[in-house]
Symmetry: C2
Subunit: 593 residues, 2 copies
């Protein structure tokens, strides 16, 4: 991948006067004019449908890529992802990033002069929402002549905006990427917001928000709010690695900005105070409060009745990414977005990235995130060859058999889908829709490459309880049931979410298996069972007979069962009616009685 930067970039301003009527906000109040500061990278194509829209998180700005002068210490905040040949390829896309409404980096915000009064808005700046931010960005997009959004991406609060983009403009937004986000702030996150809000508004120099003409600003309050917020952006484990007690006194990289008699002279003290100071130098207290309020108030469940309802009319395909150590937007909150999208039949792929960097991970550790975003954006760019031969699979015989069991055009859930080969095969041969569940990141990335929809999940950890009753025609669990801790519970779940379940497993009652144990006294190894007893993922060994017994006990109807055998003796044994001896591999379709 070509890693060069987009190079020197320039911020521009979109300015529009809305006259008497004003730019109407979601709460009904108006702004007489809008200024939106933005940057663009790459060119809009003739059909105006190659726009990739970047939504800025809370305290970032329009400068997402490139640099202003060659002396800049750092490039734009997502430069690793945006540029020629990068995940968000500026050779192909027209990339836009703007500073959000309410901010203090050039777009209209509380510090802007209100043209109606000639003074800064200050305390009179209206309450804004995430939706207002998106509407303002749409004004800019219209001004730029964008007809279609190839993708809208956002991390953290940028994810809130990306969701609103998809909800408000379902026909124009073709894809969204939501990173480290959630359907709303958790109660814990809201708790921190309350503390930050009080710390700023109770600063004696805050003056109700009217401090722009004063010598003293609410800097102490804002700095303390930032120190607190900064902790929530890191992970506990990341902080432990970053700040060692032993480094006390040694690490003086952060100039002392404040001290108390109660200090221990630890790196964490100077670091947080330095972060607070740095933030005060570049941010405005009113902007912080307004944007924080928009974030706090964002709640798809309250606004639309349910998360499902919020998404029911979107037209975008979704890539939803969470970060393992993010506790501000924790994985279990992010997953609710995925579940809701699945349950309203939208196309979603979810990714669970391992990182030690907490919420900030999406700004710091972009390796696998970049790969996933790149593949998500590429998937329709490299045109699929209609005549392309179905690739050769390791288990092609499985696929053929499974293909025969599945009705044309049906909706399928594939548990333990690996690289998505089966779903890809079934999509091509039988026009099935549906998605896979897979725990390994490599499988997820392969699925993205194949345009197979996939959810990253460990079935032992979380199961499929979030999926709706009867939402699939078939749930397929191919060569996976023997790896599941609680296979009986999972089979019951399969028959809750799907009309039929197709289960395939290696037959532990196969004659070679029996023979290995009977004659040699060792746990068997074979093509079907290639592992040692101590490292096999197959922790649940069952035979054909075991399976019959289980189905009877649980009330599963066996609609269809077939046996695969490669060895001649196996074939004979199966043929003469003793598949429990002969079958190397079993494929069964079951349903609820």
């Amino acid at each position: 991948m070509h890693k060069s930067s987009i190079g020197p970039v320039e911020p521009k301003d979109f300015v529009k006067d809305y006259g008497e009527a004003g730019f109407v906000l979601e709460n009904g109040s108006t702004l007489p004019a809008l200024t939106i500061r933005y940057e663009t990278y790459g060119k809009l194509n003739a059909t105006a449908d190659n726009a990739v829209w970047i939504c800025s998180p809370l305290t970032a700005d329009a400068h997402a890529a490139g640099w202003y002068t060659e002396n800049d210490k750092k490039p734009g905040w997502w430069d690793e992802l945006i540029g020629p040949g990068k995940a968000i390829d500026t050779d192909r896309f027209f990339v836009v990033c703007s500073n959000i409404l309410g901010g203090c980096k050039g777009s209209t915000g509380p510090a802007t002069i209100n043209p109606r009064t000639g003074k800064p808005y200050g305390s009179t700046f209206p309450i804004i929402t995430i939706g207002d931010m998106v509407h303002a960005q749409k004004e800019l997009a219209d001004g730029l002549g964008i007809k279609e959004f190839y993708c809208v991406l956002g991390g953290s609060m940028g994810g809130f905006q990306a969701m609103k983009w998809a909800i408000y403009y379902p026909e124009q937004v073709k894809r969204i990427v939501i990173i480290a986000s959630s359907p709303r702030f958790s109660s814990q996150a809201l708790g921190f917001e309350v503390v930050a809000r009080d710390v700023i508004t109770q600063d004696p120099y805050f003056n109700g928000g009217d401090y722009y003409d004063k010598a003293q600003k609410p800097d102490v309050g804002l700095a303390n709010a930032r120190k607190l917020a900064h902790i929530t952006y890191l992970s506990a484990i990341g902080m432990e690695q970053k700040f060692k007690r032993a480094q006390a006194q040694e690490n003086k990289s952060h100039a002392v900005t404040y001290s108390t008699p109660f200090d221990l002279n630890l790196p964490i003290e100077s670091y947080l105070r330095y972060q607070g100071k740095k933030f005060v130098d570049r941010f405005d207290a009113n902007s912080y409060l307004h944007i924080a309020h928009a974030t706090d108030a964002f709640d798809l469940e309250t606004e639309y009745g349910s998360i499902e309802n919020a998404f029911k009319d979107i037209g975008a395909e979704v890539l939803n990414v969470n970060l393992s150590t993010d506790w501000l937007f924790p994985p279990h909150e992010s997953r609710r977005i995925t579940s809701a999208l699945l349950n309203v039949g939208k196309s979603v792929t979810s990714l669970e990235l391992d990182t030690q960097f907490g919420h900030d991970g999406f700004l710091i550790e972009v390796g696998e995130l970049g790969k996933a975003v790149g593949r998500f954006l590429d998937s329709k760019i490299i045109p699929q060859q209609g005549t392309q031969a179905v690739p050769v699979f390791h288990e092609e015989s499985d696929f053929k058999l499974l293909g025969k069991l599945v009705k044309e055009g049906s909706h399928v859930l594939d548990l333990g889908c690996g690289s998505g080969d089966l779903l890809d095969y079934l999509a091509k041969k039988k026009k099935v829709t549906g998605f896979g569940i897979e725990k390994n990141i490599t499988g997820i990335l392969d699925c993205l490459e194949k345009d197979v929809q996939v959810i990253q999940r460990d079935l032992d950890d979380r199961g499929i309880s979030d999926l709706k009753d009867g939402s699939f025609d078939y749930a397929i669990i191919n060569r996976t049931i023997q790896e599941i801790r609680d296979p009986v519970a999972l089979l019951n779940e399969l028959l809750r979410v799907a009309k039929k379940a197709i289960v395939t497993f290696p037959n532990f009652g196969h004659w070679t298996t029996r023979g290995s144990l009977m004659l040699h006294g060792r746990m068997p190894k074979s093509k079907e069972l290639p592992y040692e007893w101590y490292d096999t993922p197959n922790i649940r060994l069952l035979t054909v007979k075991d399976f019959y017994t289980l189905c009877k006990k649980e009330g599963f109807r066996i609609e269809n069962i077939s046996f695969q055998s490669e060895h001649t003796l196996s074939k004979v044994l199966t043929a003469i009616g003793i598949p429990n001896f002969g079958a190397e591999h079993v494929i069964a379709t079951i349903s609820k009685k």
Copy 2:
């Protein structure tokens, strides 16, 4: 268990003048006099050795049990644990709880009048340590005539004190209970401390700590610090359950104490502000800063070079308890205390309590904590009958065989020790020392009852990498290896920490097993293998031959192997030299080549 309260109690003051020399603090400065406010429950016995000392956490006080007047809304803060017939039984113990040095509930602190100046200490109050708090408490204990501490207990910062008690007074302190504590604050916790410290000291009314004669106090800063701290005492999941967005506007149980235009009128807002207000009414900013500093500075590793070193001379038996959702003193930090104690050969039992209440769990959910504390304190009270018969065990034949394999007086680690029966047997029959590892709480409580030292741990989660090389004569893994995800890694670990490992497992190569699979084609069930294929904890099935092969591959010397068979045919098969067919159960001693 008799649940009645100790009834009406009265706080008392211990007062001592230290003249010119003063009460000397750990940093060398002095206090001319000490006042310690305390309460006692129960009576000191004639030998003055039945004292149970309760160490108060940061913002609690001496009122741990009972009530002052019949109109009191709440009893003392640990009333559920302390009283006649309760876990800390006031019919048997002389229970003492005092308010800590530096506090503001009656003991000497920054708000106290300095007898040398006639004014409150304020900014002149010296920096104090956890050690100073303990030394001050020792003055009180001496004043009360206590000779020996049956137990010292503390949660949170109280745990810091309990550890210091054991370290400073190794001969007098017989037991300590450490709850929801750690060898030091994590970097994340310290980060929050920095924010709280800055928020208080930057309150315009803090005035460097000299505000006692002023009309305005640093109440805003203290309240905001408390709001922040309060969030850290709860868990994310607990907060989600407690504060529902839907309850907005409805839940008005907490009077509005402050509001901003950025509020959402959510329960979390009024709740946190109410907590802040309530705290300001009962606490002093200087006390908060001083006690917080003592907590921040507490660090066994820095102070003693290592946690091991800190504990190497203690005489106390330890019960160390962590709480699953505690993120202020997270379980992985608490576990370092346990590991260090084990590695210096101290007696420690560890408990991992499941709770949704976060750090506050030890004040709220005392059910199993109470049982554990009760059994830990009881264990020596109900005298062991020297002539008591060894109880009948389910697997007594195992025990006899294992007993023969273990040398008298050796040091033993028992992995998956269950209720501690084997260790109890070996202690009685072979005078062995050592401890067990067990994942289930019922096993832990049983071990406490039997006075068997036990560590609560899931071997699949964390293994034994924290245990020192060669610290045991034997590591026994009895009927457990087949339940381990990575048995090879664990066997290697056993032979790292112990000179020899004794492994017992059901032989999957036994003739009845083979027969079940060979003849009936079903996964076998037997006395040794009583589970179904889908719910068995035995996920690693091995045969005698498999075991030989593994030992060869890993370089384990089989010092001794024996086979158990109940069935006559099994006995015959084993006797004629084919144990892989005959053995129902295998017992092997291995060592490293």
